[in-house]
Amino acid sequence: MHNSKAHLWFIAPAIILMIIILIFPLFLAGGISFTDYNLGNKTFEWIGLENYDKMFNRKTYVKMIWATATYVIVVVPISVILGLCAAMLLNSLRFGADIYKTIFFLPVMATLLAMAIAWEFTLHPTLGIVNNFLANGCGGAREFIFGFHWLPWVDSEQSWYAVACANNMDFPYWLKQKNTAIWTVCFIGIWQAFGFNMVLYLAGLTGIPRELYQAAEMDGAKSTWEQFKLVTWPMLGPTTLFVVTITTIRTFQVFDTIEILTKGGPSKTTYVMMYAIFEKAIQQNLTSIGAAITVVFIGFILILTFFQRYIIEKRVHY
């Protein structure tokens, strides 16, 4: 048995497959990122870190990193918190919870492609129902609410709504305007992600023993907030870790909304990494720069996974 090589035969298929389809492409991408190779070229030159240098110095790629970072930093916390709140609300419902679950889960089930087209119509600057709704509300309750006139420091003459009404219904072009595009995309991202997070949290909530809440009550935790702090939040630790990791990876990978709604524009404000890879490597055949972005992308994901695996994991499993 000691000298038998049989075990190698057993593990070889798995190892070989893993190398061919998982590890080799990764190293290939890494290798290409140090060259000037473009798809179809017969030769290539080693150009060292030039691709990476471009990424951190050329305006386009700096904008790419900003757009990605903005998207992740906005969508992850908001969709996680909203998901948790919705899950806790639904969990406290006696009936009707199933209907809400289905409704909130719809964006997750539906193909984003179709949904994005619906959003495009909805947010169309002149034909979309959003701007029509706003335009019809000038001077009315809608202006009061969405113009934030109810906040004491907002001047009702100078609010964005009032100004838009005064300027011949000059409402934002949402996806076509530099200062609103990324936030609109973020909004759609949240809209899409929070239903999924809610379902994960609902599963996590059912796993909390009811006796723990009763113990907390007997121990004198009177307010919902105290019980949340003492029981719900710590017991949801593993769920939260999972939800945050999954959401972060998914938001890093956002592509279809961008491809359909903005194509990275206007002026690269929504130029997220996944879309950049697609545009450079696939549409423009600039394989090497695409590979470099991919490597950076994988780097982000690896750091995140490492952080989850070795630092937070230890603190949420008891």
Partner: protein, 379 residues
């Protein structure tokens, strides 16, 4: 003080009635056990006392104060749960501190970091530490204080759960089958420890169990509940010797009491198998159940008008006692007879034996299961 009174407590879940007009007065410092088979509503009753469940009708009085409208956290009771319900993310020390922190610190002092600026927090923290240390010494869990519940054995968790209840000196302790997750040896050991704890704390204990042995060994009084009804509330000895009904007699005592079908004639003489009892039943001319506990039957060599015969089906050796499961003539049920090892070692499965009963020990029940008394104490 720690008296608890339950007045006409009823509880139903939808159309299912789980508690039926219960009245219990629990005295200060008493160890009262609520015992009954699973599903009899005993845990529900405990949770109604705790305030975790609302009764459908009736009143709960703690120290003569009606607490119907007072929520669980304000009734000043402590509860030990079957699953222990320790906070898994907190160390044992923090678990013990939690009830004190929630009650002693005000909302501001509980805030992280800035709460430490409150002038009173330091002295409160010191008194909390002292109480935690005192409790952990009593329960011998001082060396576990820095561990988390996940790193403890079942018995240790049980102690921590007890400690969390003890640490703030409540009006009464409510315990919901606290020993049922322990292994048999530890369970027996914890029984005596709980009794000792009760003796030293002198606080009211309300203890729920389905194990009649726990009820018999620990309680000052036990309340036997079956199907949402309180059947008997008395000292363990009295419940055992003088059960009020057939169900109580069958529930309390292990092995189970033997039930014979018999009848009484016009003079009240009770007859079963071929045996006549000397005592006369107060109910004449009726069919009866006669209950005799296994330890009141013995295997004998003599055969007379007070004995009946049978065949040993199974010999259950417990070391100190041997229980014989005996098939008797014209009765499909097996009866159980206790024997002492030194006198019965030659009896094996399949042996024919004569069984003699101790006089004055039979219990009579009528067809509805109610206890019937004898007319005279003789015979």
């Amino acid at each position: 003080m720690g008296t608890i009174s339950l007045k006409n407590i009823s509880k139903s879940f939808g159309s299912t009635q789980v508690l039926n007009n219960l009245n219990v007065d629990i005295q200060d410092g008493e160890f009262l056990t609520l015992v009954g088979p699973s599903g009899c509503g005993k845990s529900t009753l405990l949770r109604i006392i705790a305030g975790l469940e609302q009764q459908t009708s009736g009143d709960v009085l703690i120290d003569n104060k009606n607490v119907n409208k007072i929520r669980a956290s304000e009734r000043d009771l402590a509860m030990v749960f079957q699953s222990y319900a320790l906070y898994p993310h907190l160390t044992v020390r923090r678990n013990l501190e939690t009830p004190l922190r929630l009650r002693d610190y005000n909302a501001f002092e509980r805030l992280p970091l800035i709460g430490n600026f409150s002038p009173n927090k330091k002295s409160k923290t010191e008194s909390i530490n002292q109480l935690v240390n005192k409790t952990s010494e009593t329960l011998q869990i001082s060396e576990l204080l820095d561990r988390k519940p996940g790193q403890l054995s079942g018995g240790q968790r049980q102690r921590v759960a007890l400690g969390r209840a003890m640490v703030r000196e409540p009006v009464a302790f409510l315990m919901d089958e606290p020993l049922s997750n322990l292994d048999a040896a530890l369970r027996v050991h914890m029984r005596s420890e709980l009794s000792e704890l009760h003796n030293s704390l002198k606080t009211t204990f309300v203890y729920v169990t389905h194990d009649q042995a726990e009820a018999l060994t620990m309680s000052s009084r036990m309340a036997v509940m079956i199907d949402g009804n309180l059947l008997q509330l008395d000292t363990p000895q009295e419940v055992y010797d003088n059960p009020s009904s057939l169900s109580v007699a069958q529930f309390v005592g292990s092995p189970k009491i033997n039930i014979f079908n018999g009848s009484s004639d016009s003079s009240g003489t009770v007859n079963f198998l071929n045996v006549n009892l000397k005592r006369k039943s107060s109910e004449s001319n009726s069919d009866l159940h006669i209950g005799i506990r296994p330890e009141h039957l013995e295997i004998t060599n003599d055969k007379d008008e007070n004995t009946f015969g049978g065949t040993v089906a199974y010999r259950e050796n417990l070391g100190s006692d041997i229980y014989f499961h005996v098939n008797i003539e014209d009765n499909s049920k097996k009866i159980i007879v206790r024997g002492l090892p030194q006198f019965t070692h030659q009896i094996t499965n399949g042996s024919s034996v004569n069984i003699k009963r101790d006089s004055n020990k039979a219990l009579l029940f009528n067809q509805t299961g109610m206890r019937i008394h004898f007319n005279n104490a003789m015979g």
